[in-house]
Amino acid sequence: MKIRTLIGLIATTTLLASGPMALATEKVYIPMISKGFQHQFWQAVKAGADKAAAEFDIEITFEGPDNETMVDRQIDMLAAALAKKPTALGFAALDSQAAIPLLRQAKRAGIPVIAFDSGVESSIPLSTAATDNKAAAALAADKMAHHIGGKGQVAVVAHDQTSRTGIDRRDGFLERIKSKYPEIRVVSVQYGGGDQLKSTELTKAILTANPGLNGIFGTNEGSAVGVVNGVSEMGAKGVVIIGYDSGTAQKAAVRSGLMAGAITQNPVGIGYETVKAALLASQGKKVPTDIDTGFYYYDASNMDNPEIAAVLYD
């Protein structure tokens, strides 16, 4: 009985799996190894990659570890992707150094690599499709200054102090405030790990310590939603909130006016441009070293414009 169960299982697995393979052998195949999978941001990147795949009639797969600490799992995914002898590869490294041996292997096998979302510190990727996070955060600083009238106290709730995006968004904001708005003082920069609940608690602590606070910048979806929750739980009035990325909760906050506005990256564009660059590179065509996938500022007034609505995700 047990043997039969096992055989049944194997057969199911095989059937389940061999379907897509039959198609895949004919087509150009580009695996995308991402930093994550289940967050809405990554699903939006995947949607962009799928769009490019449909447009150019190629096969893609999209995989990433359960969370952004699982560096070794990402390496295993990269190894499995290379075993499939892909035409080209899209890769968003959690830790560039750890991936170097496999990237070298890809290079030896003549598989072009395109980095996405954040750069890979290596000369192997031919191109990087990413948001200019520093410029985007500087725009957030401008919007903040505009809303609070160019003077007062602001705070930053950032997602972390180690990742490239965390550092760039924090510094982009702080540097712009320092260079352009001498009458605005940044009273606190705290890190909530992008966790909504933690960011909520942080925000409440910041508000308690600084009752005269005029504005808070949340540097990613979880941070921004946490800031909104913290401000409403404290019942604080007149605090301008600027967020980053989108998602259902953040979009609702912008629409209702709780949040003044937010920066959105173009995750769909990141996915699309990565696949496109990978395809071009595999055909031996030249691709630019940096592909700026762009960013927008949105608020209640423009979030329904087709151009903006297309890059916001739920």
Partner: protein
């Protein structure tokens, strides 16, 4: 107190051999079937490089699973194996990168800190009578926090330690047989498995491990110092986690302080697929290794077949339940 060991020995041993063989055969057959199935489904699966990738993916989880097996056989559970691994990797980083000491000190630091942390878990369980689930849950969080504090939440790189990357990535076998570049990490996994298997089946510590899991009270009543033996097992498991810490740090050429949560569950999954009973008193290292291989083959195979990631996790879950179910059915028939 010797009488217990003598009286128990024949019945226990025959018990282990009988159940062990069956379960191992069943698990081994499923492994072969999986390999066979994936080979037919995809021409890219059965290549040397992919087989090596699978073995390499097994190495860390396999070593952790061996550690978890020892504790589970005593009727306990160790939820701290994943973060303890990270903690040991960070300690190796402190010794090698921060203090600039030579490689052997780093290896020693990692294994000793692992054993020490294991000893602490063991004392919490044995002396303070805290249930193993709670004691190791606490240790899991403490060790995670310590790793972050000690490393200042940043990865520690081993660029200055000559030969550190060879622990996991180098290949002794490959130097002898160039066509078979099996990484040292895999070699270390099998060495750890053989040694743990020897300890379990051929030493007094091993015999008491099974005895504790079967009937702790009987062992205690026969005058055995149960607490000391239990702490010994947790310390041994901790030391093995130290080896896993070295393997993962070497593979990533860095100690990643945030990593580790979730690894304990995968290790425990490998243990139960391999036929070790969570109730204690029964289990084999060989079974655990096969369990870890089954998980690695399954995940790799599904990836090579481009099965969507959502489905990969579902299939893994189904396999865990099926493996334990078939084991239970077999036992019930007896």
């Amino acid at each position: 107190m010797n009488t217990l060991a003598q009286v128990k020995k024949p019945s226990l041993l025959s018990h282990i051999v009988a159940t062990g063989t069956h379960q191992r055969l069943l698990a081994f057959a499923s492994l072969i079937l999986l390999l066979f199935g994936f080979s037919i489904a995809s021409p890219n699966f059965m290549q040397t490089s992919n087989m090596i990738a699978i073995l390499q993916a097994t190495s860390v989880n396999g070593v952790l699973a061996v550690a978890a097996t020892l504790v589970i056989i005593t009727g306990g559970i160790d939820l701290s194996v994943g973060t303890l691994m990270t903690f040991c990797a960070v300690m190796a980083g402190v010794v090698l990168t921060y203090a600039g000491m030579p490689l052997p000190f780093g290896v020693l630091a990692s294994i000793c800190m692992g054993a020490l942390a294991g000893l602490v878990s063991g004392s919490l369980v044995a002396k303070m009578k805290i249930p193993p689930f709670i004691a190791t849950l606490g240790m899991m969080l403490i060790l995670k926090g310590l790793s972050l504090v000690i490393s200042d939440t940043r990865p520690i790189y081993f660029n200055d330690t000559e030969g550190f990357d060879l622990i996991s990535r180098g290949s002794l076998i490959g130097e002898i047989f160039p066509s078979l570049p099996i990484p040292n990490g895999v070699l270390i996994l099998f060495l750890v498995a053989i040694i743990a298997s020897y300890i379990l089946n051929r030493t007094l510590l091993g015999r008491y491990t099974f005895a504790l899991g079967s009937n702790e009270e009987a062992v205690r009543l026969s005058g055995v110092n149960v607490d000391a033996w239990k702490m010994g097992i947790y310390a041994l498991a901790g030391g093995i986690c130290g080896i896993a810490g070295l393997l993962i740090a070497s593979r990533l050429n860095s100690a990643q302080p945030a990593l580790g949560l979730g690894y304990e569950l995968e290790a425990i999954a490998a243990v139960v697929i391999g036929g070790t009973s969570l109730a204690g008193g029964r289990g084999t290292i060989m079974g655990t290794i096969i369990g870890a291989l089954i998980m690695a083959v399954l995940i790799n195979g599904l990836r090579v077949l481009s099965v969507a990631q959502e489905w990969q996790t579902i299939v893994t879950g189904v396999i865990i339940i099926l493996a334990v179910y078939t084991d239970m059915m077999r036992k019930r028939k007896k």
